[in-house]
């Protein structure tokens, strides 16, 4: 599979404007093989479905229900982490307390822990006889594992590091002088927070929320283990793709995959935009405001 393309390319002599150095050749050939070729295959397969059928398959009630679960719950998880991520980043940067280093290390755990392990742990701990699931069930009658709540919890778990890691450096660079100036001018702590600190953190918070959202929407490993995977209840879009593939319904799988891919591209665009905004903001807050 891999040898076809380089061999064909070597047959040509490179045109003058394509005289590339070896690093460039490796980069482009590698990207072509592992990224452009699969992307192209999917785009072609999706195009072959035809626009009217594409729309039909993309908006079946089953598919719409999975979008609601995937995109809706991921948004809730990302927003929740937007709030707590700022609190955690604040604690890590501004406060000194015993166990701060441990807290810092723990934030990276969702990145380091394989998703299947995370899913297993979350499903067990939030099951009705788990450490957290049992009290929740006894006190509020809440079932978490194998319901949409469990899906949301898994999404919260895997998207937490993004906001923390995105806000931390900006918070570090923030000058305390401004807060002191605000205090001198008679601002209350709340005014200082909402009018001085938060506006400067906003680009970083939004970029982190967007990254976490994008990750939570695409997450499969941990969600599939804590979800009961029942359509119209807690089935997420990636699981629906796998179910369609298992039913040999390639057209549906392609269409839903394409919807998710377009969403990924869009979110990448938004995240890049937010990061550029953040950099401009740092360079010149007044102008970009």
């Amino acid at each position: 599979m891999a040898s076809a393309q380089p061999a064909r390319r070597r047959g040509f002599s490179w045109p003058a404007w394509l005289q590339l150095s070896w690093p460039w050749r490796i980069t482009w050939i590698y990207l072509a093989l592992v990224l452009f070729l699969p992307l192209g295959a999917m785009a072609l397969k999706a195009a072959a479905v035809g626009p009217s059928q594409f729309w039909e398959l993309a908006t079946t009630p089953e598919a719409l229900a999975t979008y609601r679960v995937s995109f809706g719950l991921a948004l809730a998880a990302a927003l929740l982490n937007g709030v707590f991520g700022v609190v955690i980043a604040w604690a890590l940067v501004r406060c000194s307390f015993p166990g701060r280093r441990l807290l810092d290390a723990l934030i990276d755990l969702p990145f380091a822990l394989p998703t299947a392990v995370a899913g297993l742990a979350l499903a067990a701990i939030y099951s009705t006889n788990g450490w957290l699931g049992a009290p929740l069930y006894a006190l509020f009658g809440l079932k978490v594992s194998f319901t949409w709540l469990g899906v949301a919890i898994a999404m919260v778990f895997i998207s937490l590091p993004f906001v923390v890691r995105s806000v931390e450096p900006v918070l570090e660079a923030l000058e305390r002088d401004q807060e002191e100036a605000a205090w001198c001018l008679g601002a209350s702590p709340r005014q200082t927070l909402t009018k001085v600190v938060l506006p400067q953190l906003m680009p970083a918070i939004l970029a982190g929320v967007a990254q976490g959202y994008s990750r939570a929407v695409g997450e499969y490993g941990s969600v599939v283990m804590i979800s009961s995977n029942v359509p119209f209840k807690d089935l997420i879009a990636p699981t629906l793709i796998i179910q369609k593939l298992e039913e040999y319904d390639f057209a549906s799988a392609t269409v839903i995959g394409m919807v998710m891919l377009l969403f990924s591209l869009l979110s990448l665009l938004v995240i890049n935009g937010l990061q550029v905004w953040g950099r401009n903001w740092e360079a010149n807050p007044a102008q970009s405001a």
């Binding site: 599979m1 150095s21 070896w22 690093p23 460039w24 490796i26 980069t27 590698y30 990207l31 592992v34 990224l35 699969p38 295959a41 999917m42 707590f84 609190v87 955690i88 501004r94 406060c95 307390f97 701060r100 807290l103 290390a105 723990l106 934030i107 755990l109 969702p110 380091a112 822990l113 394989p114 299947a116 392990v117 297993l120 742990a121 499903a123 701990i125 450490w131 957290l132 778990f157 937490l160 570090e172 990750r215 929407v217 695409g218 997450e219 499969y220 490993g221 283990m225 990636p238 793709i241 593939l245 799988a253 392609t254 995959g257 998710m260 891919l261 990924s264 591209l265 990448l268 995240i271």
Partner: protein, 286 residues
């Protein structure tokens, strides 16, 4: 649950904000991250301390470990070569479309792993794939076999190395390379003796991240593997399969191995950061 957290925080005697913030931060992380992690360890040891050693003898578990290692051993070197090539090509040069190219390299991070797997199926599946005919006429088997799984692992993990090395190279500048070249070094010598040593810690960092993700990759591999026990089952797939078949002991045993690898990678990462003097100036803890 967060409302519960807040009411707990409220019920406590009103501390100053400086104590409240670390408290909320710690509570949230403990509930969301630490407890689930401890659960795996506790579950694995409580339920299966004795059978754990026996489980390690399980034929299917052993083949899952071997397959996971095989995919990782293919993906990590391949991605290291790509990452270094891309970094030397892209960093420190300004050209139109540079930002776009960097975004393209980041793309696998924002695509769902399941969609990555789906793309490979649509490309190489013998019945429905775009190149399925060519692949099967060459007698190759990619989907439902280890080459597809290795390829899926490669796609999901290739941005790590490039992302770690590029920023560092941008900072370093050209001076040393130019000096080496004026002294008559070839491109290869410059790369091997000047460029690579200057970014060696970023490479180590990238290797840790790539390996950790490659060992734990689930979604993309699940789609292309077919999940045949003992044949195309990696360790993460094995965990899910054992769990779904209520073989809890095996699931926890395999999860403990995987989780252990995750923790080790995290510790290695912290160690490298420590070696580099920390990502930021750490205030002395008093």
């Amino acid at each position: 649950m967060p409302s519960l957290l807040r009411s707990v925080a409220k019920a406590l005697p009103r501390p100053s904000a400086s104590a409240l913030i670390p408290l909320i931060a710690c509570l949230y992380v403990v509930v969301i991250i630490l407890l689930p992690a401890l659960e795996v360890v506790a579950g694995a040891f409580a339920k299966v301390l004795t059978p754990f050693i026996e489980n390690l003898q399980s034929e299917e578990l052993r083949s899952a470990v071997m397959l996971t290692l095989r995919c990782t051993l293919i993906a990590v070197p391949a991605n290291t070569i790509f990452g270094l090539a891309a970094a030397t090509a892209i960093a420190r040069r300004q050209f139109p479309g540079k930002a776009l190219l960097l975004s393209v390299i980041d793309l696998p991070f924002s695509i769902s792993p399941v969609v990555v797997g789906l793309m490979l199926v649509l490309l190489y599946s013998p019945t429905n794939g775009l190149l399925g005919g060519i692949v099967s006429s060459l007698g190759l088997k990619i989907i439902f076999s280890w080459p597809g799984m290795a390829l899926a692992t490669i796609i999901v993990t290739f941005p790590f190395m490039a992302r770690e090395v590029i920023p560092l190279l941008e900072e370093e500048g050209w001076d040393q390379e130019e000096a080496a070249r004026t002294l008559g070094a070839t491109n290869w010598q410059v790369f091997w003796k000047v460029t690579l040593p200057s970014v060696r810690w970023a490479v180590v960092y990238g290797l840790i991240l790539t390996t950790a993700r490659a060992l734990g990759e689930f979604g993309a591999v699940a789609v292309v593997s077919g999940n045949i026990a003992g044949q195309t089952q990696t360790l993460p797939l094995f965990v899910e399969d054992a769990y779904k078949q209520y073989d809890t002991e095996l699931a926890y045993g395999a999860a403990l191995i995987l989780g252990g690898v995750g923790i080790v990678s995290l510790l290695l990462k912290l160690f490298v950061e420590q070696l580099l003097g920390g990502r930021r100036e750490e205030e002395p803890m008093t």
